[in-house]
């Protein structure tokens, strides 16, 4: 029961990817998770990475801001 997730910043992104998949007739083999904001996405990312059964985690964020210090230990794996 491996799990795959795509984390997005908000509702708009969620819809974009949903329709992109639909348009190209790609089966939904992962769950799109609306993190309701970049801050929440970054704050919860270390915990998301500790999810049980996690197989793949994709992240889509806007490249529209300068770097900000990320709170806590934001693991990359």
């Amino acid at each position: 029961m491996a799990e795959r997730y795509l984390l997005v910043e908000g509702k708009d992104d969620e819809h974009v990817f949903y329709h992109l998949l639909k348009h190209h007739q790609i089966p939904e083999c992962f769950e799109i998770k609306n993190k309701e904001g970049i801050d929440n996405l970054l704050d919860t990312l270390p915990t998301e990475l500790k999810r049980s059964n996690l197989e793949r985690l994709g992240i889509v964020v806007d490249a529209n801001r300068t770097s900000r210090p990320v709170g806590g230990s934001c693991a990359t794996s």
């Binding site: 993190k35 704050d43 919860t44 270390p46 915990t47 500790k50 999810r51 049980s52 059964n53």
Partner: protein
């Protein structure tokens, strides 16, 4: 209030049953353990229990019996070592002859506190008075031939605790295994199907007419506020074994606690064990068993409060998401940082290599809010 040191602030297990190796870097006052079937949740509680009671044979027997593995734990004949069920205590369950390394359980980086349970061998020999004696055989003589009987050698750090052959006729075994052991820690294990009736009687007698009765009564109020008093009463005259009975508002006669639902019985058992584990460890398997989800946050609130007051380190297991949520809610309200969620997993590339993924209270908040699966 001064914070007292925890019984265990970390844990390392080697070669015990399902765990070839498991390391948990930190522990808190109240620890909830989650994970898939067969990942070793109950096994972790059993390891903690053995650590606390310094390798009690009674506990080993209980551990084996609970999985129907206790057949021929104590034997009457030498040789035929393959059938000896003590091998089930060791990781891999291999032949006894291959168990060269002891089970080890204890805090990380503290060798004097590491409990080890090793397999040793005995041979029957005559002493100078012509009596049969069990003689421990040094490892270099294991291959010397002759029939040998397996036994256990228990040590705490470098300090030997006990060693004995697993023979049915060792006359003092029952007495020996109940001896007060060095720095033994009081501990109570509450199985998923509840405490035995005998143990309930024993634990109740230790707290009857003390203020601790109030905590037990408070646990019953979680479900039924109309319980006025609770006591253990023989169901017939002259009964030695008594059952928990409750006095309910507006009822003249007391009612058996069980008649008020399995949840009442579970609360009674868990909190009775909790108040009896002062300065020690409470181990609860499937804590939510028989409990409606709505009762669980209050139970956890009570556990956090009483555990800190009586300095009890609590370890509980669950499969339920409701239970994780209730634990999170109570831990957050408690606000002392005393809660820890331990998600047990097995490394995919290394069988028997346990991994403990830890979630403190802040992360636990994220887990429940974002519905992140940790079980």
């Amino acid at each position: 209030m001064m914070t007292r040191p925890l019984v265990l602030d970390s844990l390392e297990i080697h070669r015990f049953r399902v765990f070839r190796h498991l390391q948990i870097d930190r522990l808190k006052q109240v620890n909830l353990i989650v994970g898939k079937n067969n990942v070793g949740k109950t096994c972790l509680l059993e390891a903690l229990l053995l650590y606390a009671n310094r390798g009690s044979l009674l506990t080993m027997r209980m551990v084996l019996e609970s999985r129907d593995e206790a057949k021929r734990l104590l034997t009457s004949s030498e040789g035929d070592a393959k059938g000896r069920s003590i091998r089930y205590l060791f990781h891999g369950r291999g032949d006894l002859e291959d168990q060269h390394e002891p089970v080890q359980i204890g805090p990380i980086g503290s060798p004097p506190d590491m409990l080890s349970i090793g397999l040793i061998w005995f041979r029957q020999q005559l002493d100078q008075h012509g009596r049969q004696q069990w003689q421990r055989i040094p490892p270099e003589d294991y291959d010397a031939g002759g029939l040998l009987l397996p036994g256990l050698s228990i040590a705490l750090g470098a300090q030997p605790v006990l060693s004995y052959p697993l023979h049915i006729d060792i006359p003092d075994l029952d007495r020996v295994v109940q001896l007060k052991k060095p720095r033994q820690i009081s501990s109570i294990f509450v199985p998923a199907n509840g405490l035995g009736r005998e143990q309930v009687n024993l634990l109740w007698d230790k707290i009857a007419l003390t203020d601790l009765e109030r905590d037990v009564l408070a646990s019953l109020h979680i479900i039924a506020s109309e319980v006025e008093r609770v006591n253990l009463v023989g169901s017939q005259e002259g009964d030695r074994e008594r059952i928990p009975m409750a006095k309910i508002t507006d009822f003249d006669d007391p009612l058996p606690l069980r008649s008020l639902g399995e949840g009442m019985n579970r609360l009674f058992g868990v909190v009775l064990a909790l108040v009896n584990a002062r300065d020690g460890m409470l181990l609860i398997d499937e804590i939510d068993s028989g409990l409606h989800y709505s009762a669980q946050p209050d139970l956890w609130r009570l556990i956090f409060q009483v555990a800190r007051r009586l300095n009890v380190q609590v370890f509980a297991t669950t499969h339920s998401w409701d239970c994780v949520q209730a634990f999170q809610q109570a831990a957050q309200e408690d606000g002392q940082g005393d809660g820890l969620l331990i998600s047990l997993r097995e490394r995919k590339d290394q069988k028997g290599q346990g991994v403990a993924v830890l979630f403190d209270e802040r992360e636990l908040g994220i887990v429940t809010r974002e519905q992140i699966e940790v079980r």
